[in-house]
Amino acid sequence: MRFKNVFSIIGPSMVGPSSSHTAGAVRIGLIGRQLLGEEPVSAKIALYGSFAETYWGHGTDLALAGGLLGYATDDARIAEALEEAARREIEIVFVKGVGMAPHPNTAKLELTAADGRSAQVLGASIGGGNIMIHEMNGFDVRCSGEYPTIVVLHHDRPGVIASLTAILSDSETNIGYMGVDRKGRSAEAMTVMELDSVPGQDLLQRLRGISDVIEVIVINLNSREAQSQ
């Protein structure tokens, strides 16, 4: 079943005009913001395929900017998101994506934080406002944002994944989907886990305490920040 839920048929609540070009774009922007962990000071956004061709009429640029500002899909401020970004002195540049994209509606976000840290997201809007992230910080990993998702950056060493899953098991947290990618053997790796419940601070602290774990980030489109105000 591709659609599992009545609210994927009736919903989402969104500003128009297109569930894939507008609502999905807001969600890709939000995931970028969550991966960076804060509001970016600059963003370079590459649009591919239909996003590049029709972004202006669909407000895809406004929607992506709205997501970066932390707006939900139905936030009325999306229509002025670029002006608000300018007021907050966030520099956003849109360019045309070149090369292969996983889907006709794809955006690649390169975000920079005030302290110089960066985050990168390649996301596709797959219809009805639903999205699929295909790449995070250069790792080939997937998530939809529909479930509370833990993104773990770690060293590629034996036992790291076992340690992660042991802690989740210990806290009776169920994993619905999991993916792992690494830059190379014994290099940095990323593990992404979609959970059935929101991870608490204790759980996150324990995961961060594993040796060889570099960073643990939570992504969740249904989190309070991502909900309508």
């Binding site: 009545v6 569930s19 590049a52 006709p104």
Partner: protein, 310 residues
């Protein structure tokens, strides 16, 4: 969910003496683990937002970012209130309300995707106008949305609900089927009558292509929402009158899948065919592009690639 087909949905409703809405609410709660009250409250919130979109579209200026659309809902409402609409007052009021919501959508206003933004006018058009006419409670309307959702769930999982995949039959067509079946239940018809209404409605949109001018959800999407609301009322009436879909509704859904899969890509939301590529469609597109600087390629290296490719 316990049902995969419209036949199974109707059978559960009959066996357990529950409305389609009740079956959907119970299955949603079981599937997601979210308490029933929260599920109903979320749908009630969505219905409030639908009513708000109708109101905005009828009372505020709605001009799209492209300037291609806006203002038609008000014209139709004026005909209802000050003229003699050929299709009768209730039909043309549903049409005005559906146009209103689709115009709000095109102007970046807030709507509920039902099932998509491109088809977001039909269900509110039918629901809000019928609520006013028959004096129904909001609670009754929220139940109707669950009935519509149950029907849409089956269509989405056995065929398509996006124009990019299956053409406009998948978006506007699905919305008409959902609205028609739900209206039958709202008016006290049986689950079986509701399913026939779905089949009758879907038959009438089979083959409808998705051919938006400049790729934007405006021309012809908005008028198709207005006309779709009228079709939904008519299909519900056929169902309530006892008209049966000789081809079972699940089989009609499978034809939508067959036709959508065979549809050329030019007729699936690419703007490369149909109305988008008529002389006027092309002229409107060129007008929109005039003076608009195309996006720069993402890097100099990438720019070289573009030049080589060209």
């Amino acid at each position: 969910m316990r049902f995969r087909t419209l036949k199974e949905l109707a059978a559960i409703s009959l066996e357990e003496s529950k409305t389609l809405a009740e079956v959907m609410i119970e299955d949603q709660a079981a599937e997601t683990g979210v308490p029933r009250e929260e599920i109903v409250a979320q749908m009630a919130d969505y219905y409030e937002k639908m009513k708000e979109a109708v109101r905005r579209g009828l009372t505020e200026q709605t001009v799209s970012r492209s300037g291609l659309s806006g203002g038609d809902a008000v014209k139709v409402l004026d005909l209802v209130e000050n003229g003699t609409p050929s299709s009768g007052d209730p039909s043309s009021r549903a049409m005005a309300y559906a146009l209103a919501v689709s115009e709000v959508n095109a102007s970046m206003g807030r709507i509920i995707a039902t099932p998509t933004a491109g088809s977001c006018g039909i269900i509110p058009g039918v629901f809000v106008s019928s609520q006013e006419r028959f004096g129904w409670s909001d609670e009754h309307m929220v139940n109707g949305l669950f009935a519509a959702g149950a029907i849409g769930y089956v269509i989405a999982n056995n065929s398509f609900i996006s124009g990019a995949e299956g053409g406009c039959q998948a978006e506007v067509g699905s919305a008409i089927g959902m609205a028609a079946g739900a209206l039958v239940e709202l008016r006290g018809g049986s689950a079986e009558q509701a399913m026939h209404a779905v089949g009758l409605a879907l038959k009438n949109t089979l083959g409808l292509i998705c051919d938006p001018v400049a790729g934007l959800v405006e021309i012809p999407c908005i008028v198709r929402n207005g006309l779709g609301a009228v079709n939904a009322l008519a299909a519900a009436d056929m169902g309530l009158a006892g008209v049966r879909s000789a081809i079972p509704s699940d089989e009609v859904v499978s034809v939508m899948l067959e036709v959508g899969a065979a549809m050329p890509s030019g007729h699936r939301e690419t703007g490369q065919g149909g109305l988008a590529q008529t002389p006027t469609g092309r002229k409107l597109t060129e007008g929109l592009m005039k003076g608009r600087k195309p996006l720069e390629p993402e890097s100099e290296e990438a720019a070289e690639t573009v030049k080589t490719a060209e």
